[in-house]
């Protein structure tokens, strides 16, 4: 049976990618986010706009290329998401 991801899980996956794949400190590109986030390009661009707007992702544009880094607020969201995911999982539920 396929496991459908909730919107929260997709956002958490994107933020995790932005946190973990930012090894050079310059941010990650949309290709990396697409590959790891496993959503369509159209949906990803809409999500990124929303996440940047909410202050969870930081956008930096260099020579027409946008790079994304997780913000402090994004780290906070991710931390709380993991806590509540573990809590829900304890009762046999998915967040």
């Amino acid at each position: 049976m396929p496991q459908y991801r909730t919107q929260g899980k997709i956002i958490a996956d994107i933020l995790t990618t932005a946190r973990d794949m930012n090894q050079d400190g310059q941010g990650v590109g949309i290709t990396t986010l697409l590959r790891r986030g496993n959503v369509s390009y159209t949906r990803m661009t809409k999500l990124i706009v929303d996440l940047v707007g909410a202050g969870l992702l930081l956008e930096e544009t260099l020579e027409k290329n946008s790079k994304y880094r997780i913000s402090a607020k994004g780290m906070m969201f991710l931390q709380q998401y993991v806590q509540f995911e573990d809590f829900a999982q304890s009762y046999g539920l998915r967040l």
């Binding site: 049976m1 929260g8 995790t16 998401y81 806590q83 509540f84 809590f87 829900a88 304890s90 046999g92």
Partner: protein
């Protein structure tokens, strides 16, 4: 024994409202419908425990103008607990992880609970079936996630189900009454474990946790 039973109702209410509070925080932070159902389930359970506990200590008789019959209060408490356990089971039905395998059980099993006995027995039977369903789903969830907390909850729900079963099978035997009270006590403590873990977790512990 009655004192112990009343104390158990208030401990149950404390545990249920604590879980509901954490679940409600989860609803606010993540807008998760699973957390909303979990919060609703434990609010109903907690209110049911409080009603039964207050009835046990005779609080309703001592308040002027609130002389409600004991049977009505007990039934209201039991009804709220049954609704709480239903929500707990219902959360699993809506969760697509394992619902298609066990979902029909939730509909089929309570049919056996409807018998020409008292409403009290019917409510207790329904609660038993809902908890049992929760045990099965939580145990299946543990087999997938291997999260030790899930095992705690499955065990706790199992103890609660066993307690309910003993109370249904032999309601008047003193030794078994004590046994079922102890089972329910252990079950409630097990349900409280994730709340404790949640409360005492350091913020920094999770910064690098995998999602």
């Amino acid at each position: 024994m009655i004192m112990f039973e009343n104390a158990l109702q208030f401990i149950g209410a404390f545990v249920a409202f604590s879980i509901a509070l954490v679940a409600y925080k989860g609803v606010r932070e993540t807008s998760s419908s699973s957390m909303l159902r979990l919060a609703a389930a434990f609010v109903f359970l907690g209110t049911g425990f409080v009603l039964e506990g207050l009835e046990g200590v005779g609080a309703f008789g001592s308040i002027p103008g609130l002389e409600v019959s004991l049977a009505t209060i007990l039934l209201a408490g039991l009804f709220l607990q049954t609704v709480g356990y239903f929500f707990l089971a219902f959360s699993h039905v809506l969760d697509v992880v394992v619902s298609r395998r066990l979902g029909p059980l939730l509909v089929l099993l309570p049919i056996f609970a409807v018998s020409p006995t008292s409403v009290d027995t019917v409510l207790r039977s329904l609660s038993f079936y809902f908890i049992l369903y929760g045990v099965l789903e939580t145990a299946l969830s543990y087999s997938k996630t291997r999260n030790p907390n899930t095992l705690f909850i499955a065990t706790g729900l199992g103890m609660l189900a066993a307690g309910w079963w003993v109370s249904l099978a032999a309601p008047d035997m003193a030794l078994l009454t004590l046994l079922q009270l102890l089972m329910r006590e252990v079950g409630l403590i097990a349900l409280f474990v994730p709340v404790l873990k949640f409360s005492f977790r350091k913020p920094g512990d999770l910064l690098n946790a995998p999602v």
